[in-house]
Symmetry: D3
Subunit: 239 residues, 6 copies
């Protein structure tokens, strides 16, 4: 079965990672998963939230948004409506947890890294692109702190990246685009570290529940896909 | 290893399901997973949200809250703060999706079922107890509609229930209570239907990522646990 | 004239007061005025609002809510709407003032008691049941503090309880249920202390204004009714 | 005992009622109870709230606010804070109920009267001045509708006015100013119609509960005071 | 061409400035530009916003509102809607900037002046009347501080006043009333100091853009008009 | 005097206009004024706001935002705070008015164009870049509608563009960058059409008021600068 964009079942879309995309942030990355494009910035602040004051440990948190016209039809601006949707809150909590899982918060010291993921063009997989790009922005911000002598070793335990897998017409497909996502029977997001372990797994049956065999097939595809994402991250960070 | 409440690794806490707990709702259930107690009501409304108007199909949606003093220390009341937390929104979206997955919305017709899950006492697993109890409340509400002649067969495709599993000291443990949940390295929630298929899977590493073997072990425990929950639901509905 | 539930004009509905209804709160009471059921908890916090900082005196405050399906038809959840109604704010201010009137705030010391009254089933008189039950929860919380040696004598000056009275078909009726309340021409709520004095009196003519004679008749019924409520409180606290 | 402004216990403050205070509203009144000054406007709208659509009956509702510097120290502007306080909501609900009680809503027809009471200078008794002045603004708006032929007889059943009474140093005092209000042990507000019947009675013990004898003494003072307020209203409306 | 109220093109409406309009504020002015009437108060607070703490300099800020029925048809109350409109925020920012431009904030010392401009009747030019009246209220508040010995010289560098000019039927017209404003092709607001310099200039083409010659003609009219407003301010302050 | 980036007093920063920057919007432009970069999209909706329903005329409106890390230090996300600042509302109202001034709303027909200006990198002049870029996005969207046969001639009366001018060290300087803007004594924004007429003029003295001569000098610089911006727009649209 060929997919609507000509990919095979286990192919990622074209991935590009552009560092230093904007100039003010300590880390600033434009990541593209096909037509999905997200600006991921990492901002360093020399303070921590109240619940961590005086504990000597740091914090990584994330916010996520889409430009109103990142989507096929214009979505109302959350700032104008005065509140973030449940979907937005869910995604930004996921991004934050994913990055904290690979950050050595104790070694980071009493400072916070704010991750902002702003989707400028959406075509499916915005949360997985956000996590994958945010890791690079985070690494850049932490390298900057190391270069300023804040710590000797970058407080990252390993890399983290994410991908979606779905079941379409009964078959698992990697890295769904928007059209595929709309027609998928199941949608799973996997967040994995470079040691091959999981920090987040989220699977949702849109219409029909999925079997244990399907879950395993999706997991297999995702693990292979995320390993390729690690290569893109490393390549981007090598330059 | 014995657990802090004397259970074995694969034991559920004592489960009780009390139907007709309050008198106004079309379905009203008090469910207890150990010390976790949730009032689940199902309310029938003869209308659907705007995006479904005129499509001949129904809707099931859910709201979730905790009483301020359901928890060890008092949590601020969301109504007083003027907004629901991301956690609340995430949980109520999960409950809604889980119940829609087993409801035949076309056969429900143009009407909505509002599920309200209000935690009156929290001791871990409030979202899984909510889903498990809400299914019973939903069934009661649908039976009521059938008895009024709205449809001949209850528009439920199968049963749905949920349980949490965690990794504590490297070992998978079923149906975590609050103390266990606080110290778990990994927390997974499984929502499964009575045909043994999944509608939602959510796993989160709190500190250390988890391996594929751990995921499988947790899944196995969860599947066995949820099967026992189906028995409790059936038993409650039989009376 | 017999009432819709068979009571005489001056009868209370069946009253039950269940202490230790939930396990986390310092005081936790389920109170029933007939089919009206309210969970009243008292939570101790070792701090006071900013306007009392450093004054050596304590504070008692209250919040009130109804579960969405406590009522005949489902009411929108205030947390979801993002604000509390005027009715809610009015009732919770009334509960707070009523309890402060019998608490010796100076002897309480610089700590706060948060009263939460959550109506799980409504059938008229939710505010009067809330005050009556909250007093018992407050007493339990204060006994707990005394038992921990925070003070020698419980800082309560006397008991407080409340009841509604209405005029139906020209006749005063005690402790209205929802159906009665809907058809009452006048609705008065009396909050009285065990020394027979008033802390709050609120009377509202729904359609026709009421005479001074009617006010006196309602007051007489209320005073007798509240005296019986004190007996229920004492009985509950004796155990 | 002389009061801080030289009045006897049963004296009202100087009352002035200025009609046509602003030019756009159908009724516009500046009322002064001593130094308390409130602009009361009545605005006619040819529609009713959704719950009254098609029922052939009208509606009267009220909103209340204080200018930020109506008070001794500046209060934050509610519009800037983004919500109305419980006190504001309580007062505007009281004003609305008081005026509805004397309006023949059926004869008003399917239209709404919006009462706005904006306190430009506060010195105690803002809610009672608001009710007393709003009645005159309402009458003016209804006369205007009658003059346009909307109805033959003005749909007012009788007049309504309000006054506060407090207990100071054990003695009842009529129409408290701000200083008195701050030191009063009890504060009662009475809303009475010109037939000598009550539409609202609200009494609150600030510190010490009050006896039945004190309640009766306050009621007597209030009734005499409100009768004098009716004379001021009639005098103002006669011109 | 005669204007709808009989004025010539370059005439101001009748201007009156009433000081000490309300009793609590340190400065309190009722200003009328024809039928536009605004209460302007200046309130002194012995603190500054966080961003100025410890810098030894003061602050002047403003809030603006209209009573709901200041206008021809009733406008919803911003406090009830829960947010201020963009128009309100724009105007209050303009008022604040205009007054800060003539205040010597360093000499004011670490204290804030809150300006409140509340429109009780609107007939065009509410923002220019607000600025013109607020200057007088500010001056009164600063004189009060000087009289208390807070500083020797009043920290005002010069006077400030404002007026609107519009193009109607191709001709510039000074100080537009509401009817004129509604039909104006261009609306400019000028805020000028007594030394003949500008602190704010805002011009908006409602339908047709305006030429450089029209801008200059409007500016000339505005400068002459504002000079006459300074005379009214001085006259008011002389008494 | 040389400027901090080497420009002469009357030089624009490098201007680039990239069309079709994102794929979903009917018009999508990335505009750069030096380091200021704004994504401007134009979205067509086949409906109009309620106040225009049935009038046969169209509408153009705008929303504006900055990514949190568009600025030197991270600014809180407005969607997370739950409200837009006064600055944001002021700017988006300005953008909307500027574009409406050159659009023939009658010929547009009953449809709306939503302009979204999202600043991804800020270095001064974000509102003027937004207006200049939004015009190009609007033109693209209208060309698209013409190409679909919605109208024969594009309903644009002329072009519109905007630039800022400031007074620094007494000298007028064109198109201020952030550093210049921070130290400018006066900041004026001019919005001009291609016929050399103004739709908006806004000047603000940050510290010292400005003279009529300074206003004229700034206006002259702005007019020359905007004429060059028209060339950039035309060049971009020619391709």
């Amino acid at each position: 079965m060929t997919r609507n964009d000509g990919r095979g079942c286990c192919d990622l879309r074209p991935i590009t990672i552009t560092r230093n995309f904007t100039k003010h942030a300590e880390g600033s990355v434009l990541i593209a998963f096909g037509d999905t494009r997200v600006i991921c910035t990492a901002s360093v602040e020399e303070s921590v939230p109240p619940f961590l004051k005086g504990k000597g440990t740091g914090w990584v948190t994330a916010e996520y948004a889409m430009l109103p016209r990142a989507t096929h039809t214009r979505s109302p601006r959350e700032a104008a409506k005065g509140k973030q949707t449940g979907r937005t809150l869910e995604i930004q909590r996921l991004i934050g947890r994913s990055l904290r899982a690979v950050t050595d918060l104790a070694r980071l010291g009493e400072r916070s890294i704010y991750i902002d993921c702003d989707v400028i063009q959406a075509d499916g997989g915005t949360r997985t692109a956000s996590i994958t790009g945010a890791y690079v922005a985070l690494a850049d911000a932490l390298v900057g702190l190391r270069d300023k002598g804040v710590f000797v070793d970058i407080p990252l335990k390993e890399a983290v990246a994410a991908v979606s897998v779905g079941i379409i017409a009964g078959e698992p497909m990697l890295d769904l685009n928007y059209l595929e996502d709309s027609s998928a029977e199941v949608d799973m997001n996997f967040v994995m570290t470079s040691s091959g372990r999981f920090v987040e797994v989220q699977g949702t049956a849109e219409a029909e529940p999925f079997t244990i065999e399907q879950m395993d097939a999706m997991r297999g595809q995702a693990m292979a896909g995320i390993r390729r994402l690690f290569a893109f991250q490393q390549e981007a960070l090598r330059v």
